[in-house]
């Protein structure tokens, strides 16, 4: 579904992504792992078209649509969850009836059925779930979730992981990026561990990892806690 | 952008630019033209003053905004040209032997007045046009006589820019006091209908004048005569043109302050202007033969035998 071929992105002197290649198959949950500054967010922005690679190509299968949930989502605080989804539905060009229907369905999918509460009264976890819900508007083929569990408390993390698991079960293809390796291990099928914009190691949950957890592989690859 | 959007955007931009250019001030602004028309409409009032051959239509009127001069010719045709002065000026300008009235555009005068706490309407602008037109008239017909007023004395630019006039009275409070009482006497006399009382006033005036003149330098006396003749008479015309438009404005802005001491050369505007008003009380036909070769007060003395 998604093929990244030797992409490079430089910002002045700094090379954020350096000849990165990987691919994501339909129905997979794929993780981008690495420390801060590894190039994960830059990679996501290039997949979304917000940045353009200086070299290399990013290819999405024909007709593939994307949905995106940012790491620190901001929504107009005076809107309710439903109004927020309807707003982004309208921005996407969806018809009124369709966006109403989808808003209701998605809110119930992410557990935000209460339609009267304004976003200003939402907890961080609720906002993250609303962000995932808006990324699902229009039923995209590929979901890109940037740090979906960042800043959440234990309960919030559990709810988010459960949500991603539900999306996976529903057949969604997901690329996500997270620091929390335990979360990744629970929901992801494959992933790459990045450093300085390149792939250090590829990880596959179904492969023989020599009995090592993802955390152990990560520490071995990166070279200890940085 | 799509081709259609580019075309629509370009069309909107071109339309707005065209509208802006088409409506721009290639000529005189509406409000300045209205001032010109107002001034022209006062010709009859100017005729009634009695200065022989004094016609506004003899002189082009130029409105300057600092960037351009907008010339209104007597046939009402207009022309834009580069400014002849780079600074703000209301003056009579010698354009190759033919005099032109130059006044700042009304909006500029309005702003200046606003800064000084006043207002500037169409009537003010029209009266100013007549003031400067009178200078054109003086210089066209009586230039030699006017130059004769300062003959034998060379004044620097500073003197004419009021330095000498200011210094003279700043250091001489007695002279200032005397001049103030002269102005008061003239203002009273300008309203006086009893000719005997008027004569008494003028005898008193002459006495003070002789006393005061001994206290100021010869240069200051010559400049006083020059200003009183040239500017005083133009101020007289300006006052009358204002009066023709609004008695109330005349009372408020001229009549009430006529007898008061003013700084700079403005005191001589009042002095000369008031002398003209006083002479009107004695003989309103004096303008038939007045040739600007001497101050009006001398004619008053002659007529009253003072």
């Amino acid at each position: 579904m998604l093929k990244i071929n030797r992409i490079t992105k430089r910002f002045k002197e700094k090379c954020a992504v350096n000849g990165l290649s990987f691919s994501v198959e339909k129905g997979e949950v794929f993780a981008l792992l690495g420390s801060n500054g590894a190039g994960k967010t830059t990679t996501i922005k290039m997949i979304l078209g917000l940045l353009h690679p200086d070299e290399g190509t990013i290819a999405l299968d024909k007709g593939v649509t994307t949905g995106y949930s940012p790491d620190t989502p901001y929504f107009p605080p005076f809107l309710t969850g439903r109004e927020t989804l309807e707003y982004y539905g309208a921005v996407s060009g969806m018809k009124k009836a369709e966006r109403r229907k989808q808003a209701g369905e998605l809110l119930s999918l992410v557990g935000l059925e209460d339609s009267k509460t304004k976003v200003s009264r939402y907890s961080k976890g609720m906002i993250q779930r609303l962000a995932v819900a808006q990324s699902l508007l229009g039923d995209p083929d590929l979901l890109i979730l940037d740090e979906p569990t960042a800043g959440l408390d234990a309960m919030g993390r559990i709810e988010m992981i459960q949500l991603i698991a539900r999306l996976k079960k529903a057949g969604k293809t997901i690329v996500l990026n997270s620091h929390i390796l335990g979360d990744i291990e629970q929901v992801c099928d494959r992933g790459i561990i990045m450093k300085n914009g390149t792939v250090l190691t590829e990880w596959d949950k179904s492969a023989d990892n020599g009995g090592r957890t993802l955390q152990e592989i990560f520490i071995e690859t990166i070279g200890g806690i940085e | 952008m799509k081709a259609a959007n580019v075309i629509i955007s370009a069309a909107v931009g071109i339309s707005l630019l065209t509208g802006s250019v088409m409506t721009s001030a290639n000529g005189v602004s509406k409000e300045d033209m209205a001032c010109y028309d107002k001034a022209v409409s006062l010709q009859q009032d100017a005729d009634s003053l009695g200065f022989e051959g004094f016609e506004l239509s003899d002189y082009p009127v130029v409105f300057c905004d600092g960037s351009s001069d907008y010339v209104v010719k007597p046939d009402r045709s207009t022309e834009k040209r580069d400014p002849v002065f780079s600074t703000l000026a209301a003056t009579a300008y010698d354009n190759d032997g033919h005099f032109e009235v130059i006044v700042p555009v009304r909006s500029t005068m309005g702003t200046l007045s606003m800064i000084m706490g006043g207002e500037w309407d169409e009537a003010h602008q029209a009266s100013t046009i007549w003031h400067e037109a009178f200078h054109c008239y003086q210089l066209t017909n009586y230039r030699e006589n006017i130059e004769g007023l300062t003959e034998g004395h060379i004044f620097s630019e500073d003197d004419f820019s009021e330095k000498l006039i200011n210094d003279e009275y700043a250091k001489n409070t007695k002279a200032k006091e005397l001049l103030t009482s002269q102005l008061e006497l003239l203002a009273q006399s300008a309203e006086e209908t009893d000719i005997d009382k008027l004569r008494e006033n003028m005898i008193e005036y002459k006495k003070i004048d002789e006393q005061r003149r001994q206290l100021i330098s010869e240069d200051a006396q010559i400049l006083e005569d020059y200003y009183t003749v040239v500017e005083g008479s133009a101020y007289y015309v300006e006052m009358n043109m204002t009066k023709a438009q609004s008695e109330e404005t005349f009372e408020k802005e001229y009549s009430e302050s006529l007898g008061k001491y003013k700084g700079g050369s403005a005191k001589y505007y009042s002095l000369g202007g008031a002398q003209c008003l006083v002479l009107d009380r004695i003989d309103s036909g004096w303008k038939d033969s007045y040739d600007f070769s001497k101050p009006v007060i001398e004619i008053i003395y002659e007529k009253l035998g003072v």
């Binding site: 910002f11 954020a16 967010t41 830059t42 922005k45 979304l48 078209g49 917000l50 940045l51 994307t66 995106y68 940012p70 620190t72 989502p73 901001y74 107009p76 005076f78 809107l79 707003y87 982004y88 309208a90 921005v91 996407s92 060009g93 808006q134 | 952008m1 955007s9 909107v12 931009g13 707005l16 630019l17 509208g19 802006s20 088409m22 409506t23 721009s24 001030a25 602004s29 509406k30 300057c64 905004d65 600092g66 960037s67 002065f85 780079s86 600074t87 703000l88 700042p104 909006s107 500029t108 309005g110 702003t111 200046l112 606003m114 800064i115 000084m116 706490g117 006043g118």
Partner: protein
């Protein structure tokens, strides 16, 4: 939809509401006669003169408000990364920035309308209720200068940092409001300074002329079309900059 939501957000900001309320109260005080305007120590009287002064003051305040309202909208969208959720939905930068600018103009015109409501109260209190339609026309005309200031501030905030954008927008607005003073200064200065001021006046939008054209409508005078066309042309230029300029979506 983007514009409508952005306007809702703008007019809900506490600072916006506080400034509007304070200014509206001041305007009402001014126009209901509790305060007397004096120029050069002389109290101003007469409906026409008072109305012109009130309108001039309100127009100036509205212009300043338009700068304040419009300067932060686009940078805030990028700081909060709201643009990610819009631009990834196939919305072009031109459309996005255009919608945000529309929101700025809308919010600025709403603020201007509040001041005009004060003027309307004054007109009614002075027995000129039948002339309210003139005030409405004056609002539309003076709205051109508010829109121009708002679009300028939006364009500057899109193309440079908030501080330089604010300084430039503030200076241009101040110069536009005080254009007659600058013209007079130019006439009086002459020489190089005069030429410099002349060049500045040629380039900068003459907001005062638009206000003056609008004010003439209230007092029943004939309005001039040139400042209206010129104001619209400036607005067009600023809008074109907004539509054409490509901002780097992300720097990291």
């Amino acid at each position: 939809m983007i514009a409508a939501t952005a306007i809702r957000e703008k007019i809900r900001k506490k600072i916006f509401i506080a400034v509007m309320v304070i200014t509206a109260v001041l305007t009402l005080l001014l126009s209901t006669g509790s305060t007397t305007i004096t120029v050069g120590g002389e109290p101003l009287t007469g409906f026409g003169i008072m109305m012109s002064v009130v309108f001039t003051v309100m127009h100036a305040v509205s212009c300043v408000m338009a700068v304040v309202i419009s300067l932060g909208t686009i940078p805030a969208e990028y700081e909060r990364r709201t643009h990610h959720l819009i631009l990834t939905r196939g919305v072009s930068q031109a459309r996005y920035h255009g919608q945000l600018t529309l929101a700025n103009v809308g919010a600025s015109l709403i603020s201007h309308a509040v001041f005009m409501a004060g003027a309307a109260v004054y007109m009614i209190s002075q027995g000129h209720a039948s002339d309210l339609h003139r005030l409405l026309c004056a609002y539309v005309i003076s709205g051109i200068s508010i829109a121009a200031v708002s679009c300028l501030s939006s364009a500057l905030s899109l193309t440079m940092g908030k501080l330089p954008a604010g300084l430039i927008a503030g200076t241009v607005t101040l110069a536009g409001i005080t254009a007659p003073l600058l013209k007079t200064a130019q006439s009086m200065a002459g020489g190089f300074a005069g030429k410099l001021l002349g060049a500045a006046l040629f380039v900068l939008p003459d907001l005062n002329s638009i206000q003056s054209a609008a004010a003439k409508l209230i007092t029943g005078g004939k309005t001039e079309m040139h400042p209206i066309f010129t104001g619209l042309f400036y607005t067009y230029i600023f809008v074109m900059i907004i539509m054409i300029y490509k901002r780097k979506a992300d720097k990291e």
